[in-house]
């Protein structure tokens, strides 16, 4: 290990992943689940309530926010007419964070509140440990009664329920730019399935609306036509339900799994993201006489009609279909549907089953609490909280039920008490949905702390040796660590890095000025005309750096508070596409020029080296044409692209680019081993083009800015530690400038499949990391070029110390604030990002680069 100053750094870097693993195992626990399937109590004298429906058509429209269906400018005109006639019962189903598809589907089918771990598993699609094959769901219950299930749409269902469906056709949700084909794939099966009568559940999951949201936001011009399309599917199904005999007693559910925010993303807990629509439709509901106004104005932010929990879908479906409620459900039967039964005893039965099932989960979670007729908890005493309140409510239910008379009015007395108990139990359970293993959290913290302590002596020595810059680094690490305890600073972390970067530039400016001051006194005699030019460029070069940093800062608005404000990538470039294309072409020309220059081979072969650059440029054009054609509108590029002969597929095109770049690097490494720094230059230029390929098209011109910045920085003759601090700040700053943030929703998945036609965890992981961490990777490579020729300082210890300290602060924040309201929406995503920073960026990019280049240097 030539790159490491001592064994302590090596040990520290081995300890960091161990600490992360230990902490994660305590922070993301698998919840205790009750195994097996629920069954009706056979011994009970109570007869179960008869099923109202025997089939269900379950139509999920991904990211169907409540206002897409209910508001005035909705495309769901037929659905709204059903709401007016009373045939559709509308709700807003509250989806708790994380608002991504897989956890939401788990909530819908099991009725439970999924753990945060499901978010990671949602991205690592191929994972099979998260399946619901062995959990109790309403699908499993239907299957257990001998029903057949069919499924069309998002293949997340197929992964969640392997082998559950008798007929299925899955579509993958990762090709986000596809608006039409992905839905057509579902719709084409609908007439056929409506004609069949063998299924008891027909599930559809439409992805197109979510894709439109991700690409162009909820106000996209594609949105209303897509809503019309979805509405026509509703029309087709509802008409079939009216006309066909075998669909006479079918329940039709239309719902969104989550909503979207104003940018079209989801994952967090804003009102838009947590408020999907939920409708139950059947001609039978008209008898209830519940005619409602539609379209209408929301009562609150995105809240239309009655707001229910998404978990309530499972017990409601179970009740209406006459199947047992899934064992781990935390849902409450939606009381509006109680009127479907004429007998009060049936209604009571539905609620009582729900209550018994919730009580079962309560006693599993709180083994010490006693529930029963003898549990005479002091209900009278003041304010009760949590489990005591649930005990008290249950006691009241028991009293009411034991004193009831024979007859229908028992529902009138005990019903409200039962509902109250259900709501309290639901609240208690969802609050304690995850239990932390505090000892493991502490152990993880300790291990990371030891890693930090191990590199502390080396870091301290470095920092005291370099005085002011060492002090700056220490202050930066401390303030950054303190910020991790404030949710809004975690959300707006980019502001810190922009802020600290401006401070660091002032530092660099003062230092370079004092240097030039001392130098200028020495060579005043050399001053001439050009001297004054140099003099002024010396003085004002920092302004250019500041301007580029300011541009970087406004390139992508990110975070929470200012995310919707205009920026360069989304607002300016869509208004001025010709400027965007000019910059893009300029960036590629610059990249090609540098690549050409850095290749140490003879003239004629050199032109061959241009091929990867040209290929990369055409790939980007190709990609933009298929992914975001709105950038092409009305530019000269669109004229060219019309004429362009497409013979290559995107996958093959990307592979050609990658192979070309790999070939260039191999040539540089083995072709002529004469000059070693040349090898790094070639590698850096190839990496430059690779990262451009992996970045969003609107971010590509940033690489031109990087070029300018690194030019200025290298003219400043930075010392070793200054290079380390500069690249550290720039790594974090550019991560956010590329549009990254500490929210799960900002992970950019569009470029993760470049050159790949099937899912592979490793390849997709590497490509996704490269596209999200493009800025940090670039600066890690650039740092080796900025270093002074004589390596006076080894940055591994400093970098390790920084990573350990930031991990410790995030872990400590997660431990201390584990009951905080924002723990799952702000702090846990930050912890996930810290994991990526510490493992992938620190170990794989920074340290590996250090090892390779210090070896090649020596």
């Amino acid at each position: 290990m030539a790159g490491f100053s001592s064994w302590t750094t090596v040990v520290a870097n081995l300890l960091v992943p161990v600490g992360i693993l230990t902490f994660s195992s305590g922070f993301f626990p698998y919840k205790p689940l009750i195994p097996g399937l629920a069954t009706f109590d056979q011994t009970g004298e109570n007869t179960t309530a008869p099923a109202v429906f025997d089939k269900v058509i379950f139509m999920v429209v991904d990211a169907l926010r409540s206002d897409f269906v209910y508001s005035n400018d909705s495309g769901f005109l037929f659905t709204q007419s059903l709401i007016r006639s009373g045939a559709a019962l509308p709700f807003t189903a509250h989806a708790s964070a994380p608002t991504v598809t897989m956890p939401r589907l788990k909530a819908i089918t099991t009725g439970s509140v999924p753990s945060f771990l499901d978010v990671i598993l949602n991205i690592a699609e191929s994972d099979t440990t998260s399946t619901l094959a062995y959990q109790d769901t309403w699908l499993a219950q239907l299957k257990a009664t001998g029903g057949r299930l069919v499924m069309y749409g998002d293949d997340t269902w197929l992964k969640l329920f392997p082998g559950m469906f008798d007929r299925a056709d899955g579509t993958t949700s990762f090709f986000v730019s596809d608006f039409t084909e992905v839905d057509h794939n579902v719709t084409r099966h609908v007439p056929n399935e409506l004609a069949q009568d063998d299924w008891s559940a027909f599930i559809m999951h439409y992805l197109g609306l979510d894709h439109i949201g991700h690409k162009a936001g909820p106000k996209s011009p594609f949105m209303i036509p897509k809503q019309h399309e979805m509405d026509s599917v509703v029309t087709e199904i509802y008409t079939a339900m009216r006309q066909q005999d075998h669909l006479q007693s079918t329940l039709f559910v239309l719902c969104g799994d989550h909503g979207m925010n104003e940018a079209g993303n989801h994952g967090g807990s804003s009102a838009g993201e947590t408020s999907p629509a939920l409708l139950f439709m059947s001609p039978k509901f008209e008898a209830l006489g519940g005619r409602r106004e539609s379209p209408m104005e929301p009562s609150d932010d995105m809240q239309y009609y009655r707001t229910v929990e998404q978990a309530d879908i499972a017990p409601t479906l179970a009740g209406l279909l006459g199947i047992p409620i899934p064992l781990n459900s935390l849902g409450v039967f939606i009381p509006d549907f109680l009127e479907m039964w004429d007998h009060g005893s049936h209604r009571l039965q539905i609620l009582y089953q729900n209550a018994e099932q919730l009580l079962n989960t309560l006693t599993t979670t709180f083994p010490v609490a006693t529930f029963g007729p003898d549990g005479t908890t002091s209900c009278a005493s003041g304010v009760l909280s949590g489990i005591e309140e649930a005990q008290c409510a249950w006691t009241r239910v028991q009293q009411l039920l034991s004193t009831r008379d024979e007859g229908d009015d028992s529902y009138a007395t005990a019903g409200p008490a039962l509902l109250q108990f259900l709501r309290i139990a639901q609240e208690v359970m969802s609050r304690t949905a995850s239990n932390y293993d505090v000892s493991r959290l502490t152990l993880g913290l300790l291990i990371t702390g030891v890693a930090g302590l191990l590199v502390l002596p080396a870091t301290y020595k470095e920092c005291t040796r370099h005085g002011s810059s060492g002090m700056f680094l220490m202050l930066m690490i401390i303030t950054c660590g303190m910020m991790m305890f404030a949710s809004s600073y975690v959300e707006e972390e980019q502001q810190f890095w922009y802020w600290i970067c401006s401070g660091w530039m002032v530092y660099l400016h003062i230092k370079s000025q004092s240097q030039s001051q001392s130098q200028s006194s020495a060579k005043t005699t050399l001053r001439n005309r050009f001297g004054s030019l140099i003099y002024w460029s010396d003085k004002c070069i920092i302004l250019v750096l500041a301007i580029t940093q300011r541009l970087l800062r406004r390139w992508n608005q990110t975070g929470q508070k200012f995310a919707a404000e205009p920026d360069i990538a989304r607002t300016f470039f869509t208004r001025h596409p010709e400027i965007f294309w000019g910059l893009l072409i300029l960036t590629y020309v610059d990249a090609g020029r540098h690549l050409l220059r850095s290749i140490p081979i003879i003239r004629i072969l050199k032109l061959g080296a241009l091929a990867p650059a040209v290929l990369a440029f055409t790939f980007k054009l190709h990609f933009v044409t298929s992914e975001s054609p709105e950038l092409l509108d009305g530019t000269f590029i669109s004229q060219i692209m019309k004429e362009w002969p497409y013979s290559l597929s995107l996958v093959l095109h990307a592979r050609l680019v990658f192979c070309g770049l790999a070939l260039v690097v191999l040539l540089a490494l083995f072709g002529k081993r004469s000059r070693v720094p040349r090898g790094h230059d070639t590698f850096h230029e190839a990496l430059h083009i690779f990262l451009m390929t992996q970045s969003r098209a609107t971010n590509v011109p940033l690489f031109l800015l990087f070029r300018i910045q690194s030019g200025i920085l290298s003219s400043m003759n930075l010392t070793g530690i200054e290079v380390t601090i500069t690249t550290l700040i720039f790594q974090y700053m550019t991560f956010f400038a590329f549009g990254g943030s500490n929210a799960i929703s900002s992970v950019d998945l569009a470029s993760g499949y470049n050159g790949i036609d099937s899912y592979s965890v490793v390849l997709v992981g590497v490509l996704t990391f490269a596209s999200n961490w493009a800025g940090p990777i670039w600066w890690a490579s650039q740092s080796h070029r900025l270093r002074p020729k004589k390596p006076e300082q080894d940055p591994s210890a400093l970098l390790t110390f920084h990573v350990a300290m930031s991990l410790i602060s995030v872990m400590a924040a997660c431990t201390a604030l584990r009951t905080h309201l924002f723990i799952w929406t702000v702090f846990s995503p930050k912890y996930l990002y810290s994991m990526a920073w510490a493992t992938a960026n620190h170990v794989a990019v920074n340290l590996l680069g250090e090892v390779i280049f210090s070896r090649s240097r020596s």
Partner: protein
């Protein structure tokens, strides 16, 4: 935000690029008169108090309030520099006629570093004797510094504010007014005390002036404005978190702290100096 650097680049285009061989001006001292000594301490407190009383109004309507308080702030600053600071030698005619006998002693930016500032009782007596000319000799540099503050320092500070993150497409009036306030706080005293001394402005641009009341307040304004950006991202949703307010509050506090702190013996005359080079150099030798 580091606006102090601004005033430098604002002034620099005026001065032709010529070798700056002469030693730069020594730190500026407050005038020795009793009024000057008392008021120089009361002035930062007065500014803070005035700022505090207008805070609510600034939160309610930043543009209007910043505009209407700007003349008053300018008046207070002019009063401060006239009462407390020695004027620059850039207006020699009036100054020499007014205080010729006391020259060398009372005019601070005179020749060598020795001429710094031990004001005796002469200066005080002279000022009383020829008070009208004396006031004129102060008013002229004050007006000059005022015009420089608004014509040069404000635009430069505006640019710097934007470079340090102020919005460019919106809030333009707020940014300009914020820059104007900061310019009045920092640049008025600098231009009054130093005029267009090239060496001084070079030092200001390089943030290398020795600490004194003038430079301390300018540097404090900039640093304070930089730290003033901290509360903006918090999700408290308070009206005072809007763009220029925290920056300005930071600048005012920084101005007060800086001008007082820089006069304490501990800091006075010292320069912002980074110890990177020397230490690493010696380390390399020992290695």
């Amino acid at each position: 935000m580091a606006p102090d650097t601004s005033s430098a680049s604002g002034a620099s285009p005026l001065t032709p690029p010529a070798p700056d061989d002469k030693p730069s001006a020594p730190p500026v001292n407050i005038l020795p008169s009793l009024i000057a000594r008392i008021y120089s301490i009361a002035h930062p407190a007065l500014l803070l108090a005035l700022g505090a009383t207008r805070f609510e109004a600034v939160v309610a309507d930043p543009t209007k309030e910043l505009l209407s308080t700007l003349p008053w702030l300018t008046l207070v600053q002019i009063f401060y520099v006239i009462v407390c600071l020695p004027p620059a030698g850039s207006t020699p005619s009036t100054e020499t006629s007014a205080s010729a006998p006391a020259d060398g002693r009372s005019s601070p930016r005179s020749s060598g570093p020795g001429g710094a500032v031990r004001h005796g009782k002469h200066g005080k007596r002279k000022q009383h004797a020829n008070s009208w000319a004396c006031i004129w000799s102060r008013l002229l540099p004050a007006l000059l510094s005022l015009s420089l503050t608004f014509a040069l320092a404000t635009p430069v500070l505006t640019i710097l504010l934007v470079l340090f993150g102020a919005p460019l497409t919106t809030h333009n009036s707020e940014t300009v007014l914020c820059a104007a306030h900061m310019a009045v706080l920092s640049a008025t005293a600098l231009t009054y005390a130093h005029g267009l001394d090239r060496a001084v402005w070079n030092e200001v641009w390089g943030i290398a002036r020795p600490a004194d009341a003038v430079w301390g307040s300018a540097l404090g304004t900039g640093l304070g404005a930089w730290f003033g950006a901290i509360p903006i991202p918090l999700d408290w949703d308070r009206p005072w978190q809007a763009f220029p307010i925290t920056i300005l509050v930071g600048a005012y506090i920084g101005h007060a702290v800086g001008s007082l702190l820089a006069r304490t013996p501990l800091v006075y005359g010292k320069r912002v100096k980074f110890t990177v080079e020397e230490v690493s150099e010696t380390e390399k030798k020992t290695n």
